[in-house]
Symmetry: C2
């Protein structure tokens, strides 16, 4: 049985991302070592004992719609109550409304564990957290007072309604509309698709954040406003009252995350409340989306962890032929060991990147420092895309390690692969993340990126005294990244876009090499894993960064005919 990776997270907080510095700020002074330990230990226990056991049931018995009523997978009710009652929805939410007020870094640790335990169920509190954050920053005090306590306690849950059939990556193409009702509320009308947990029988009310256009709104993203549209209109006591004019039209039949209902929603003049000013919908949504992107990156890490643990356990037990090191199991075969060691190295890298991003978000919150904000913004697309790439890759490797058994659904290895696959798509595809990285996130003239690279070079230079070979390779990779970054800055945007994905992946490898170097310096027992990362995986950065500098023209020469259209 899998165990939540609290110990590895703790090591990273203590030795790699300077959590102590964060806990030293006034804003996060409650995040003492004792509190941190308690949070990680208790969340891990919940995940191992309550949440993970329902993961397979969610896959086998998908959420379904019975006469318009949503029925969750068996066991999800109890597991969700465990999450809500433990206060895990509101780890980083405002104390004023019932949250724990702890750093987002700790919420990120908890979210990773929950995702590894049951991705389908974890999506529900993750979306509530996004909504909580959007309301904290953008809603009126009345809306906050009414909704935040219910969302933070997990009594109600939240959704995000962006996508429409013609508006996926291009959110600006959405057509859903909202008309003022004369009493300060609005009537929201339109269809939304891919709405995760768009309905739920685990809670008495579901609160939808819906992007829509007011009459005469500007075209594109500037004309988009955000509305809070509850399933049931709260009565005077704040309890679910009259049903709102909205419904789940249907559920999607998906490759994975069967336990998470993906809804087609129809809003038929549903009553809604404007959040923030008219036309500010995208800005508000981005508040929610940035943290959601990190959250999705950590979903990848969580699933990778679970899949890897399963593969390691199988490889230790499965006997096939004699092994060179005398292990009874196939874990002793060099190629199996290679797969597992490389996967373990990359899971660690991705976890560090995610937690470094979370820590930067928290430091920006605590200090208002612009550099921290820029660091968080820079790391977000990397954490999302690399974390989810690793999630899929390690889950895929888990299938491979299981051999023929990996293809049999009862084994459970394939579920991780099917579940993880969506994470590279939702919350902005990984291609969109990469374009964000080379576009918006380099729009500061590369300042944030080059500052991070300089830090890596400085760390690596210092480490030369202790680990000369590994430090030298990390230093050189950072230098290559600096050169590639400068080359990209000199290119026009579409040429950058052509190399965005390899650039992001190369960037992540350099960050991973740096993370492992620091880990090995902090704990010599981690040196073998650092060697795997730096000597076996990090070298892949060179061709990736070289390709990133190729520009777009060669690609457009490959026309539809050559593509086989």
């Amino acid at each position: 049985m899998a165990h939540a990776p609290a110990a590895d997270q703790r090591f990273i907080l203590d030795h790699i991302v300077d959590f102590a510095g964060l806990a030293g700020t006034d804003r996060f002074r409650d995040a003492t070592p004792d509190v941190t330990a308690a949070i990680l230990t208790e969340a891990a226990r919940l995940c191992d004992e309550v949440v993970a056991p329902v993961n397979r049931d969610g896959d086998l018995h998908p959420a379904r719609l019975e006469n318009g009523v949503l029925r969750s997978s068996p066991g999800f009710d109890r597991a969700y109550r465990g999450i809500a009652e433990g206060g895990w929805v509101g780890v980083s939410a405002a104390v004023e409304y019932g949250g724990m007020g702890l750093p987002h870094t700790l919420a990120t640790c908890v979210n990773e564990m929950l995702a590894g335990a049951c991705l389908s169920l974890q999506l529900k509190p993750l979306l509530s957290q996004g909504q909580i954050e959007a309301l904290e920053h953008h809603a009126s005090d009345d809306l906050k007072a009414l909704y935040l306590p219910k969302l933070i306690s997990g009594e109600w849950s939240g959704t995000m309604n962006l996508t429409e059939p013609q508006a996926g990556s291009d959110v600006g193409a959405l057509r859903c509309r909202a008309e003022p009702d004369g009493d300060g509320t609005y009537r929201v009308t339109g269809q939304k698709i891919f709405i995760t947990w768009g309905d739920s029988d685990l809670v008495p009310n579901v609160c939808h954040l819906v992007l829509a256009r007011l009459p005469d709104a500007a075209p594109g993203t500037k004309g988009i406003s955000l509305f809070l549209v509850p399933k049931f209109l709260p009565d005077e006591g704040g309890n679910p009252g009259v049903a709102n004019s909205l419904r789940v039209v249907s559920l999607e039949h998906k490759l994975g995350i069967h336990g998470s209902p993906t809804c087609v929603m129809e809003f038929q003049g549903a009553k809604g409340w404007l959040v923030d000013a008219p036309g500010k919908g995208m800005a508000a949504m981005f508040t929610m989306m940035n943290n959601a992107r990190l959250g999705v990156g950590m979903q990848g890490v969580g699933v990778a962890e679970a899949a890897l643990q399963k593969a390691v356990a199988f490889a230790a037990e499965r006997v096939q032929g004699k092994t060179p090191d005398g292990s009874p199991g196939i874990i002793g075969h060099a190629d199996v060991r290679r797969m597992l060691a490389e996967a373990r190295a990359e899971v660690f890298s991705a976890r560090v990147i995610g937690l470094a991003c979370a820590r930067a978000i928290d430091m920006a919150t605590a200090t208002g420092d612009g550099d921290c904000r820029a660091r968080a913004a820079l790391l977000t697309p990397i954490a999302k895309a690399y974390g989810t790439d690793i999630g899929i890759r390690v889950a895929d490797l888990g299938v491979q390690v299981h051999g023929g058994m990996g293809f049999i659904e009862e084994t459970g290895a394939a579920q991780y692969l099917r579940d993880a696959r969506i994470t590279a798509i939702y919350e902005g595809t990984n291609g969109i993340q990469a374009m964000d990285l080379v576009g918006r996130k380099l729009a500061d003239g590369g300042e944030a990126a080059l500052r991070l690279i300089a830090e890596i070079e400085s760390d690596a230079a210092e480490a030369r005294a202790h680990l000369p070979d590994l430090a030298g390779e990390v230093w050189q990779s950072a230098e290559n990244l600096r050169e590639a970054t400068e080359a990209l800055l000199a290119m026009d945007l579409n040429d950058r876009f052509a190399g965005a994905v390899p650039y992001l992946h190369g960037f992540a490898l350099v960050l991973g090499g740096h993370a492992h170097l620091r880990a090995a310096l902090a704990d010599a027992a981690r040196l073998p894993l650092a060697r795997v990362m730096i000597r076996r995986l990090l070298p892949g950065h060179a061709p990736l960064l070289a390709v990133a500098r190729e520009g777009a023209s060669g690609l457009y020469d490959v026309g539809p005919e050559l593509l086989g259209a």
Copy 2:
């Protein structure tokens, strides 16, 4: 709707793998340009019109067991009859028994097309072909006369029974036993798992080739013999008579290829006939397995082709935002174009490797030349592992290009990914293939590998006059491969095994670069695709080959604790 890649195959036969040289041999003199064109055209028509239309039904309505009777997916009956009646099971089978006697290269083209049309159904004739080949080489004349015509016509079908629960990659651990019955036949007893198309309602008889041990047989692979065990014992007229003592115990519930029944088989003293001499079972099975490995590699290529065509079609239609080149569809976005162009380049590379392998098999058959035999043996694991890796990677990319729709099963993109996933596992996992490459296939002191590398260097040197940049990069990559090969030859076996997978992948990239260089020389219109392969993908060979030289020791330093066990 997908179209079978007959034109691309034809280009490769005409310009890359010297099919004309093969058709110039006495053995294959019937493979004239007209015959070749007719074979490719007719097979493509069958695939597009008859076979591809049942692919989705196979996924939605898996084969099932009703009171012990197997029921195939809807539509498979008609599609299978199309394959059998067209003679497509026996393209390369002996004319004497009803086959077309054409090169295996053409059978390989047909098999790729069938796999792209419907992988689940294509497995059935593919396994019959393996059995036909094993019987042609190893069976008595009586067995040949009785079984080959029925198998070649597709009237009956064949299976391979190797795996047992404790004997997967380690075939030598199998326990199934066979006892002489006194009349020259044997009684076969034991359980076999993962038996593809272990039963079928599409044919009146199913012929099992079963690996088992005779009494007092040596342990390990030397004590294994091969038996032909039909579902129904042929009567005096050669028609299915009395039922044999065997049954399908259950069908597996799998990630993909739902239309292909994967059976647990039980042999309860079933009557069988010895094929070849006692203890020669593995040798006979390898006859079958080598070609099956190439066949599986081409399954990967076929699925990749189908998935890529679907992705290109979607990307041409799907509108999301303005594109830099003015295309209405997302195909105009640089990152989407990158994904599609890289996929197209790798599909071509994998197809060339597979057809070069098939051509070497044929040349060895036609001439008995040892070098050709060694070339075929060398290319087989590369064709299998790279072809199937590409199958999975391109199917995965197909999902990604579809965005959210890719995760919805109705779209069909996810089916390609689920179906392709098994190809990296069965017929020897890709790890086993890589170990075969660096082990057995370098056991000639690297002669076959170094000869191939020298040919690439020579071709590249010649191409310098026409395409200096690309030719230079291909030459250098071949030189790097030569050095890595020599380094591996100096290492002990387990150190080689540790780098086997990256070595194989690096080798494949060099072969792919070479293939595209030749393609661009033959047809300047292919130059843009050659640039994508050589400038964007080929550079990945360098770190792969560097890692291949790392040896095993660093991996074994990563012990179970660091792996998270």
